[in-house]
């Protein structure tokens, strides 16, 4: 690569990349937001449909046979 090529590449890069203003910074400090996200609770997993089905079945059983409730409580 000779000097002429280097100049040509410099010129092309300058044309492609817009100049950055002196002292340009984001409008606000983004680091606290990053820290907040890191400290935030992990995402809660949704209850799968089969667990909802089991909960419904359990509720239906308890409603159908309420006499079994004290027996269930005895074993807990």
């Amino acid at each position: 690569m000779n000097a002429q090529d280097e100049n040509r590449i410099k010129q092309l890069l300058k044309q492609t990349l817009p100049p950055v203003a002196d002292g340009a910074e984001p409008e606000r400090d983004l680091w606290p937001a990053v820290l907040r996200r890191l400290d935030a609770d992990p995402p809660r997993h949704a209850v799968p449909w089969f667990d909802w089905a089991l909960i419904s079945g359990l509720a239906l059983f308890a409603i159908s046979f309420p006499a079994t409730i004290p027996v269930f409580l005895y074993y807990m």
Partner: protein, 148 residues
């Protein structure tokens, strides 16, 4: 929060039985007021007060210890517990005279009559209940206490 994980696991395990116990006692005391025959509340209290909380606590400790060797889901681990607790509780109940075995049904607490066919269903639903309670409630307490 990395100290004493087994102690925290035990405390997380006894969370549910210690919540359930006052509910059961309240139900029994209210039932005693309206039941035609006296309900043996003192004898009924032995299993939920002395055995169930210890079993739940130790079962959660066992799960924490087991995690070093295998990754058993907490819900599945909890669903195995009634296979140990239910026979134990039933034998104790029989010894203490809390249940009476009849030809077609079992009488619990001298007040609640449950047919045999319903006991089979109840056992299956007991497993389901344990699975859900362990997966969601004990799992939540474990996370809060920094175990899981």
């Amino acid at each position: 929060m990395n100290n004493h994980p087994y102690l925290r696991a035990y405390l997380a395990g006894v969370f549910i039985p210690t919540l359930i116990f006052p509910v059961l006692i309240t139900l029994l005391l209210v039932s005693e007021l309206v039941a035609p025959e006296p309900i043996p509340v003192e004898r009924i209290m032995i299993f939920p007060l002395a055995f169930a909380p210890v079993a739940w606590g130790l079962w959660n400790v066992f799960w924490v210890a087991l995690r070093k060797f295998s990754n058993v889901p907490l819900g599945l681990h909890g669903a195995i517990l009634p296979l140990l607790l239910m026979p134990m509780g039933t034998v104790l109940a029989k010894c203490l005279g809390i249940i009476t075995l009849g030809a077609h049904s079992v009488t619990w607490f001298q007040a609640v009559e449950i047919p045999y066919w319903q006991i089979g269903c109840s056992f299956a639903f007991g497993l389901v209940m344990y699975y859900l309670v362990w997966k969601y409630i004990i799992g939540f307490v474990n996370r809060v206490l920094g175990i899981a």
